[in-house]
């Protein structure tokens, strides 16, 4: 079943955990929740496939869990606060999981955070239709220009001052 398209699906690299995903991922997340108990963690580690049989997961969800595909889990209705419990069961720090999701090594990821994190510039929108926030007006306009949205950028630049002050 195709997902209902939402305005926030335009945010790149982001799976918003909305009602539809929550419904789809209910059992995936409840599996993760079960890992809060030590006896369950042990049972899972002893035989992952057998343990997963306790939960009515879809084959895709099951596969993503076994392969530790963290982005895929989010796509299939997993929520990060739940899937992080799977990472913890494997003995991984949160940054380890974050590195996997961002396709970098943990070291690279930690360095990026120390250097101020991932910039929002260029990361606001897939479609380029993003509203410039208060931040980075100049860069935003430049980026829009570079993306061939010149027509729009001029307008949004003059507008953005007003819009920015309105929205805070």
């Amino acid at each position: 079943m195709a997902r209902t398209e939402q305005a926030y699906d335009d945010i790149p690299g982001t799976f918003v955990f909305d009602a539809e995903r929550a419904k789809e991922g209910y059992h995936l997340n409840m599996f993760c929740m079960s890992l809060m108990k030590d006896e369950n963690r042990k049972a899972f580690k002893a035989d992952e496939g057998k343990y997963l049989d306790r939960f009515p997961l879809t084959p895709e969800q099951r596969d993503a869990i076994l392969k530790r595909q963290y982005n895929r889990m989010l796509e299939l209705g997993g929520n990060i606060y739940f899937t992080a419990k799977l990472g913890a069961t494997d003995g991984h720090s949160f940054q380890h999981i974050a590195a996997i999701m961002t396709g970098s090594t943990q070291d690279e990821y930690a360095k990026m955070m120390l250097a101020g994190g991932r910039s929002v510039e260029g990361n606001r929108s897939k479609s380029g239709l993003d509203l410039p926030g208060k931040s980075g007006k100049g860069k935003k306009a430049k980026r829009a220009k570079a993306e061939g949205k010149h027509k729009k950028s001029k307008k949004s630049k003059s507008k953005s001052k007003k819009a920015g002050s309105k929205r805070g």
Binding site: Y8, C32, N79, F82, G116, G133, S135, G136, R167
Partner: protein, 302 residues
């Protein structure tokens, strides 16, 4: 009469709790974070609230997918620390204030905020980390705490405007409580961060700083930020900042910003912290006024 004297906002990054629990606070990475809260601890020791209302979110600890309350008020006598997968944090059990909490529930529900009442709940790092940051790590917490858990895990969280108005209703509730109590309200979570998906690691300091500025001078503007903008600008999990607006709504329009701290990063998150005091001081609390003035002198930074 009880009244709200101040608001405190702070990030609640779990790694901060881990740094405290594993005694890493003196390491340079963590010292940068903790040094920003030294003045806050002094301020808190001076202010000595009778009760703290802590607005926070649960991270799949007390609430799984089975029950997802938008606003849940802790009315229990105590709230043990939750086991978040590596054993409960070694922090004292949080003592509640059932009498004031029940009074608040009754007042705000009649004020059309349909809270969930929770009489049994464990609390996770979302609540205990900010408490450590401003109370330190005492044998027991210095005052009773009323937890107010907000759903920011499943979209949509309550709107910023709704949060602000709940703060207003909280203030009214506190002010109609007969006992003479001085209450501090905490807003926790944020600031910009995204911990999920390929865009994880997003930080937007400009957004954060503007948010801090407006929290003081124009909070109503912040109540108009749509969820889409929080997620786009401040990261999918940056939407937690709506919880700060409950704290701000509970304060008066006229407040003094007595302290602010901001640093990037703590683990995956921008850490923001602010202390706001209500300007109006009742005569009989002249001592507080004096303390506040002094705290301001000591603490105020650019």
């Amino acid at each position: 009469m009880a009244r709200i004297i101040a608001g405190v906002a702070s990030s609640h990054v779990p790694a901060i709790g881990a740094a405290i629990d594993n005694k890493k606070t003196e390491e340079p990475y963590w010292k940068r974070v903790f040094s920003g809260f030294e003045k806050s601890k002094e301020w808190m020791a001076e202010t000595k609230p009778d009760v703290a209302i802590v607005v926070y979110n649960d991270h799949a600890s007390a609430f799984s997918m089975e029950i997802i309350p938008t606003f849940a008020l802790g009315c229990a006598a105590e709230f043990p620390p939750a086991d978040e997968g590596w054993g409960p944090r070694p922090v004292p059990v949080v003592k509640g204030h059932p009498a004031l909490a029940s009074h608040i529930a009754q007042s705000v529900i009649l004020d059309e905020f349909d809270l969930t009442i929770v009489n049994k709940m464990e609390v996770d790092h979302g609540l205990t980390v900010p408490m450590n940051l401003v109370f330190g790590s005492p044998q027991k917490w210095p005052c009773p705490v009323i937890p107010l858990a907000v759903n920011v895990v499943m979209y949509p969280p309550p709107t910023g405007h709704r949060c602000f108005m709940l703060g207003r209703a909280l203030r009214k509730a506190v002010e109609s409580y007969p006992e003479d109590l001085r209450v501090v309200v905490f807003g926790t979570g944020g600031m910009s961060h995204q911990i999920s998906g390929p865009r994880a690691g997003l930080i937007n300091s400009k957004f954060d700083k503007a948010f801090l500025d407006n929290l003081t001078k124009d909070p109503k503007k912040l109540t108009k930020i749509p969820h889409l903008e929080y997620m786009r600008e401040a990261g999918a999990e940056g939407i937690e900042m709506v919880m700060w607006l409950i704290m701000r709504g509970a304060l008066d329009d006229k407040i003094d910003e007595v302290y602010r701290f901001y640093t990037v990063p703590a683990s995956n998150t921008a850490v923001g912290h602010i202390i706001l005091e209500n300007r109006r001081k009742a005569g009989k609390h002249g001592k507080l006024k004096h303390a506040a003035a002094r705290a301001k002198l000591d603490v105020r930074r650019g």
